[in-house]
Structures are given as structure tokens and as C-alpha cells.
């Protein structure tokens, strides 16, 4: 467990430094809590918001949006990436649209999407899918393009069908690259969900942040929601890293 302690200690130390620095800024500048609440105030609000059931419904909404949106976007991205890797025609036909979709900030598309798909789950899923799709598709395409052609020749010498080549050679060989794309995708999914909620939504951490800042003017609650959001993002990222380590760590 020596190694575990070696990893945990710096994390704890940097956290302590961060919190102390935060407190220091609050003390030195003397900002009131409605501008910059101190760490203790935020933690207290965080605890009460979880205890009185304010936080959970919003967290749940956002989690569902993120996970579903990520799943849909990653699946479409994976399939598209495979298609792009295997067909130059597909790449040539689709690439202008893919680049255009990626180059347009999702922030400006969000209000439109909410207008078309309503302020419920659907619009959030569309936004998450859009934003997750691109890194996954690119990573998959690049990964499959760089599979050693000698392995493909080997597979064809054993009469592998197209489908067998994809599932048994290309995707496993490209897995490290694909997982890299998924790791980027999961953090983008969180951004997508929040952007969607800001553009219009009834529930979710993004909505809660808006309410706390606007109608409630409860800045500590806003910070508590922010903290929850950060924790959700970090947790999802860590899960991805664990999955990655399990799948390709042994190579």
C-alpha cells in the first residue's frame, strides 16, 4: 500500500493548499459571501443541500443526461469512425459536415436545439451526442487507420470476413486510441449537459446554478452545485480511466 499512499498524499496536500488559499483570499479581500463565500460556508451549504434533498434530483437529471448522451454519442462516433477509416469516399463525403459541426460552437447551437427538441431530456441528449461524437469518431478513425497492415494481411489469410476483421482485429488493435477519445468525450458530455440546461431546462445542476444565482440569490448554493458538478465530472473521468486500464493496461 506504499504506492497508494504515494499517490494519495500529493492529492491531499494540493487540496489542502487550495482550500487554504481560497480561505486566505476571502479573509484578505473581505468579500461578502454573496460574492465569494469561503470554503467552510460552501461546504456547509453543500451538506445542507444534500441533506434537505435539494441537490439529488438535479444531480440525477444531469447524470442521466450525461451518461445517455455519452453512450449515444460514443456509439455513433465509434461506428462513424470505423466507416471513415475503411472508406475514403465516406471520409470525403462526410468530412466537410463533420468539421463544420465541430467548428460551430455548441453554445450557439444549444438555444436552437432546445427550441426544436424542447426543454426536456431530448435536447440535452442531442447536444451531448453532438459534442461527444467528434472526438470519438476522430480517435476511432485514426486508431483504425494506424492498425498494422500486416495484421490485416494475416487475418485475410485466414479468410476473415469484413465483420470479423473489424471486431477481432481492427477495433481491439485501435482500442487504446478509441479509449483516449472516450476519455475526452466523457468530460465533454458534462459540458454538453450543462450548456443544454442553461439554454433551457426544468431540472439539472446547470438549472440549479442558474436558480441559485438568479431568483434565490444563494451564492453558496451555487458554489455547492458547482462542487457537485466538479465531483461528478472527476468521478466519470476516473471511471473511464479505470475502464481503460482494465481493457488495455496489460498490453
Amino acid at each position: 500500500m506504499k504506492r497508494g499512499a504515494g499517490i494519495v498524499m500529493p492529492v491531499v496536500a494540493s487540496l489542502v493548499v487550495f482550500v487554504l488559499g481560497w480561505q486566505l483570499v476571502v479573509v484578505v479581500t473581505g468579500y461578502p459571501p454573496f460574492i465569494l463565500p469561503g470554503p467552510y460556508t460552501v461546504l456547509e451549504r453543500f451538506a445542507t443541500a444534500w441533506a434537505d434533498g435539494t441537490m439529488w434530483p438535479h444531480t440525477q437529471t444531469t447524470l442521466v443526461e450525461v451518461l445517455l448522451g455519452f453512450a449515444i454519442g460514443a456509439t455513433i462516433g465509434l461506428v462513424t469512425g470505423i466507416g471513415l477509416a475503411r472508406s475514403h469516399l465516406a471520409e470525403r463525403l462526410l468530412s466537410p459536415y463533420l468539421v463544420a459541426a465541430q467548428a460551430t460552437p455548441v453554445l450557439v447551437l444549444a438555444p436552437l436545439i432546445v427550441l426544436w427538441f424542447g426543454s426536456g431530456l431530448a435536447s440535452k441528449l442531442v447536444i451531448c451526442t453532438l459534442i461527444v461524437f467528434f472526438p470519438v469518431a476522430v480517435a476511432t478513425m485514426v486508431g483504425i487507420r494506424s492498425v498494422d497492415p500486416r495484421l490485416l494481411e494475416m487475418a485475410s489469410s485466414f479468410r476473415a470476413t469484413n465483420w470479423q476483421t473489424i471486431t477481432r482485429v481492427e477495433v481491439p488493435a485501435a482500442l487504446p486510441a478509441i479509449l483516449g477519445g472516450l476519455r475526452v468525450g466523457i468530460t465533454l458530455a458534462v459540458i454538453g449537459a450543462i450548456v443544454g440546461e442553461w439554454a433551457g431546462g426544468e431540472s439539472g445542476l446547470g438549472v440549479l446554478i442558474n436558480i441559485a444565482r438568479g431568483s434565490l440569490f444563494d451564492i453558496p448554493l451555487m458554489f455547492a452545485a458547482l462542487l457537485t458538478l466538479a465531483l461528478v465530472g472527476v468521478a466519470l473521468y476516473l471511471v473511464m480511466v479505470l475502464v481503460e486500464r482494465r481493457l488495455v493496461g496489460e498490453r
Partner: protein, 318 residues
């Protein structure tokens, strides 16, 4: 995309150690091949060969003379422009189940254990899990690697990996085993040992063997016949029988007879390895050899350098 898996319940060939596979007679009739790409390369020119069942034939020739390409034509990976290859009277029209291929590099799947690598062709052919496991155990036993069944390729030595790849090539009981410079990456001593082992495998499996090699002693030691090819376009320059009794031993390599045959092979090779020719062939060597499909797909995308959405990329030349 096509989603047809192999037939799930095809009639399985019987276990190889019990029932001998009917050996293959191979005939190569006037095989010619030209690669047309950015630059047209005439690779093979009217190759004629008749190979008896259970014969071991070594192909030898200067760099880039098309030996490896000829091997791929035999295995059905590259179609010939002219001429035909037939095994037991049946023409080879594509990657052929009667042929097992061993490449210069082991080409194992890094994410699979040795056993799962051996199972790869069985899996593609739709064998059941239990039959795969039984067959893999036989095969790993045959190449002396039973205790390495669970090992990942990265933990195995180069020679051991090549043994796994030989076991994999033998998985579907091919009647023709093709080897493309299989031991060229091994050191000289290991190589001698592997040659003896290959002959032992040949003895036990009863396949016909065609191998490409750069080593004259290796060719003479292994083969019943050494076929010498000319520089590109490859033609058969000499077909030299090796009447050395079997089973052969490493010590045979020192015998006067072997040196005599080796010297004969060398005289034919000397004519073909003029320095300027050799250099030209080495320059061209990179183009041939890999399967056409793989070549065109990866022609403009070298591993690790993605050509992604680049409007300024030159158009495909193929």
C-alpha cells in the same frame, strides 16, 4: 456492412495427429504478375512449378525478386495476372483453407494469449469454444508450448512467438504450409534448432512445405528441392534437387554433400546478384509483398500519421 460469420457448424477436419491429411500436389502454371500503381512493376514472369505431395521446396533469390509475392500468390492472397495455381487439381482463387501461412514476423494479436492466438483461425471458421480449446492444446503441445498457453505475446521471446504463429498456421490442418523467411529474425543458433524442429513438425503433420529463405544452408538443409529465382521480374533460374536422406540432423550441414549443393545454388545466385541490380531491387522491395487490399487502404496513411480531413492532401494515385 457484411455480417456473415463463418458457418457455425461446418464439418470439422479430424484431429491431425491421428488421421493423416491427404497431401497436396501443387502446380503453378505460367504465373505472371505486374503491380500497376504510381510505377508499374513487373514482379513475376511465367513461373512454372510442380510440387509433389509432402515435398519441401525452398525458394531462394536476390532481394525483391518476388519470392514473397510468389508465396502470396500460392496462398491466394494476391491474384495472378496470368496463369493459375492449383492444389490437388482445385484452383486457388482467394485466401485458401488448404493453405497455412507463416510470415516473417509472428504477427500475433498482442491482446490475446498464445492459446487465443492459436484459436484465431478456428474462431473465424466458427468452431465451438470447446473444440477450439481442445485443438489449441494439441497444437501448443505440437510446438512444445503447452505451458505458455496463457502467456501474452509481449512476454514471449521472438522464437517462441514464431512457434505460436506456426501453431496458428497449422490450426486448420492445411495440406500446404507456406513460410516466408520464418526464422530470419532469429539468431543463428536458434535458427538451426528451429529448422530441425520444423522438419519434425513436417514429419508429424504431413504437409507440403514451400518456404522462402535468404540462407543457402537453410534452404539445402530443409528442402527436397531448391528453386532459384532471378531478379525482378522473377523467373525460375534453377531447380536443384537435394538428395540428402531424412531425417536430417544439424551435423549434416557440415557434410561435403551439403556444401556441394550449396555451392551449386550459389553459382546460380551469383549470376543474379549484380550489385546494381541488388540495389535497384532493394529500392523496389518495399512496394511488393503486402496484400493488395491492405496496400491500397494504407497507401496514403502510414501508421501513426493520420490523414484526417486534409483538403490539401494529394489525390489517391492508385
Amino acid at each position: 456492412m457484411a455480417t456473415q460469420e463463418g458457418p457455425a457448424t461446418g464439418a470439422p477436419p479430424p484431429a491431425l495427429t491421428h488421421v493423416p491429411v491427404p497431401p497436396a500436389g501443387i502446380s503453378v502454371d505460367g504465373v505472371s504478375l505486374t503491380f500497376r500503381g504510381a510505377r508499374t512493376t513487373h514482379v513475376l514472369d511465367g513461373i512454372d512449378l510442380a510440387i509433389r505431395p509432402r515435398e519441401v521446396v525452398a525458394l531462394i533469390g536476390p532481394n525483391g525478386c518476388g519470392k514473397s509475392t510468389l508465396l502470396r500468390v500460392l496462398g491466394g492472397l494476391i491474384p495472378a495476372d496470368e496463369g493459375a495455381v492449383t492444389i490437388d487439381g482445385e484452383p486457388v482463387t482467394g485466401p485458401d483453407p488448404r493453405v497455412g501461412l507463416v510470415f516473417q514476423e509472428p504477427r500475433l494479436l498482442a491482446w490475446r494469449s498464445a492459446e487465443d492466438n492459436v484459436c484465431f483461425p478456428l474462431e473465424l471458421a466458427g468452431w465451438s469454444k470447446t473444440r477450439q480449446a481442445a485443438r489449441a492444446e494439441d497444437l501448443l503441445g505440437l510446438v512444445g508450448l503447452r505451458e505458455f498457453a496463457g502467456a501474452r505475446p509481449t512476454t514471449l521471446s521472438g522464437g517462441t512467438r514464431q512457434r505460436v504463429s506456426i501453431a496458428r498456421a497449422l490450426a486448420l490442418e492445411p495440406s500446404l504450409l507456406l513460410l516466408d523467411e520464418p526464422f530470419s529474425a532469429l539468431d543463428a543458433l536458434t535458427r538451426e534448432r528451429f529448422n530441425v524442429e520444423l522438419l519434425r513438425l513436417w514429419d508429424r503433420t504431413g504437409t507440403t512445405i514451400v518456404l522462402v529463405t535468404h540462407s543457402i544452408p537453410e534452404a539445402v538443409f530443409l528442402a527436397d528441392r531448391v528453386v532459384v529465382l532471378s531478379p525482378r521480374p522473377g523467373r525460375v533460374v534453377a531447380d536443384i534437387p537435394v538428395e540428402l536422406p531424412r531425417p536430417r540432423r544439424v551435423a549434416d550441414l557440415d557434410s561435403a554433400f551439403v556444401s556441394h549443393v550449396a555451392a551449386e545454388v550459389r553459382t546460380h545466385l551469383v549470376d543474379t546478384t549484380d550489385d546494381s541490380i541488388a540495389m535497384e531491387e532493394a529500392r523496389l522491395a518495399g512496394e511488393a509483398g503486402t496484400a493488395l487490399a491492405a496496400r491500397t487502404r494504407h497507401a496514403e496513411t502510414a501508421p501513426g500519421t493520420p490523414a484526417w480531413f486534409d483538403p490539401f492532401r494529394p489525390e489517391d494515385e492508385v
